[in-house]
Symmetry: none
Subunit: 225 residues, 4 copies
DNA sequence: TATGAATGAGTTTTCATTCAT
DNA sequence: AATGAATGAAAACTCATTCAT
């Protein structure tokens, strides 16, 4: 009897005795997923080794097939998981509406900046998925959209209403702008360092860049050209 | 007798009769390099297949070894080639100094924006190299630095001197800022399109984004906060 | 506590309350056996998958081990079951002795012809067992012999006595003759159809072939050469 | 650079120097094919092991993929080869037309009888292919038809014209009749021996059975019922 | 220079079997 | 009596690399 595919496989335990087993199974699944995220981020899809993933746990390689069906299925689950984490993080931030639009935007940008910096593995997975023609994302309807767009739209509307921001800026475009500045410094850190000898991880550099991102974003919104 | 390694293999021989053959050889080498660039860009290092590269040409797989020594050597040559192309493009632009600093900056940003858009394969190779821990770039001394930094420094100096720009912005940091905005929309186009349903290739979107990049960059430099 | 092996597992228990459960168990066992017969017939021993067998029922793969001990044990049970069914069918026919020898033979041949046609799965199992070096049959003492041989011997004796048939024909040899003609058209139907474009399932073809088998058999027995 | 697929892969050597290599390559291919025929005949498709095939030669398992692309491709090549051999044998016999129809038929039957007996591996492959739903034969246009049908048609026509045979017998049907009797005793030899304790390989049994097949066939054709 | 054949070490995948509950 | 999870050994298949010509 096969399981495979994605996440819906974990049944709600019927009782106490069942609980332990299902919990253990779910734990096995998560172990695999975590190890796989690391391995895929480190070596790409083609370079990732199921052996390496299995070796990181107490489980065997066959379990990958039991839970995910194939290397491709595992990859899909990893991508799904990463985008879910990104969206979750964005959602968690969007709660504290109601403040001044500019303050709000600064907070959002700062948060985004810090989030990607703190989770370089996510950027790697996203880069890899782009190299892979987004073939996993295409098949995952649940990754569509992000709460951050609503949040930006709200900020923009308030800023424009309050006369702080100029109009004509679209929320998705603004998200591109902020994302580019926050993600690039993580995803392209290594080549940038080699070529320009500048380490984005250096605290001073980081502080300057955060300031630039904030000023650039606000400069864009305030521009009257 | 093997040749292997990277570029020093191209020495143009002094002999006369040998010329034809060397020209053919050089052509074979370039064919391999181009096919390899595509293959690596499409599948990453681990996913790239020497068979696939050989099949794209009239040459055989063994030729890869004759000219590049190994898959790794071929990969290095591809990365070197790509960065050389990027730097060459940047250099070509930097020639027309002497105009107004802001105009100059607009031209440089616009050029960078268009260049990456026109060469998505380059961004792919750069993304891949980052996923690969920059292991090729580390070994390639010739890719260090870029003329664009001098150009930006010159623009900044003139802009500050002319009172158009505020001071305190570093040329390399500014290059990060511009690169991020120009590269991200190419390297992350696919996932962005899937998730936010916004196609960066759409002319209207492109025009808006170019405007944003220009306004954002200038807004950053003009900012007095 | 394991049971394993083959048929002696079916003992009907004397207990009262246990009855329901044993009936259910026997039903499970038969379900497995049927699914297994199909799977083995369809894919051969090596190609058969316990997963596939389990998936066809409401039972799990582990039940196969509970009831049959191993894939090999299950295979043996299937072969035993099939030969038992064949012998049972042969026995059922042999009851109505006492008629004219030639009529009797016609009836027997016609019956054999129809039986194999109606149960192509049996021929498949027999073919498979031959491909498997008869390793299951060797270990199954209960499949030895068949009532059909006695029946043929009786028919032959009466036919010879009545001057209808010539002597010198052995009952087992005659069984080979009839079986070959009846089994081949089932077991080799597919390749024959592809190569000669003749479908043995076609009613007209079937009628002609039945006539041939009857005429051939009787022609053999009447021959005086 | 891949080859795979079936037989057309062997190029005609361009010259003397090329000859040796191509001949060696062709030899490798045939070695694999022969080992595979044995392995498939012995264990069926699912049970056959590529390792076992490779171990029988001085070549490696990867060569199977080089020449045949997959286990399935190898299987197809084996089936093709076997049917080609059967048809070739049938063709070789069909040459000596012109004799008396009955003599001719006796010779053909005797030859068929001996051929299958001498090549039990062929019958195994045919049995296996039937168990495998004739999936290889379906894809092999070159196995369609057999010269034996023409030969039988000719014999029948002459026999009818000469008054020796009755009319109304179709050549393909007759081929079924003869094939069934000749193939069954090879393909079902093992189970028959176990169940009826009669060894078809025994010279005395063989002689009796050949006589039966001859008499039965002629009896069929002479029958006036 | 160039080619097709060959190889060996790996990689993904499968599967019969067992275990804990 | 039954189940789902787990396992290890082996299977098919791949691929970078080398060799003979």
């Amino acid at each position: 009897m096969r399981m495979a595919k994605t996440t819906e496989a974990l049944k709600v335990p019927a009782g106490r005795a069942g609980l332990t087993r299902d919990v253990a199974a779910e734990r096995t699944r998560r172990d695999i997923l975590q190890a796989a995220t690391q391995e895929f981020a480190a070596r790409g899809f083609g370079g990732a080794r199921l052996d390496a993933i299995a070796d990181q746990m107490q489980t065997t390689k066959a379990m990958v097939y039991y839970y995910f069906g194939s290397k491709e299925g595992l990859y899909r689950a990893v991508v799904e998981d990463v985008f879910a984490a990104i969206h979750r993080a964005e959602f968690e931030h969007c709660g504290d509406q109601g403040r001044d639009a500019e303050d709000e935007l600064r907070a959002l940008v700062t948060h985004t900046f810090a989030f990607h910096e703190a989770h370089p593995g996510y950027s790697r997975i996203v880069s890899m998925e782009n190299l892979n023609d987004a073939r996993a994302v295409v098949q995952l309807p649940q990754v569509k959209g992000s709460p951050v767009v609503q949040a930006l739209a709200s900020i923009l509307a308030r800023g424009v209403a309050g006369g702080q921001f100029r109009g004509g800026i679209d929320a998705v475009d603004l998200h591109y702008f902020i994302s580019a500045l926050c993600v690039f410094r993580v995803s392209n850190r290594l080549t940038f360092k080699e070529i320009f000898d500048r380490d984005f991880a250096d605290p001073a550099v980081r502080a300057r860049q955060l300031a630039m991102v904030l000023e650039g974003t606000l400069g864009l919104l305030r521009a009257t050209a």
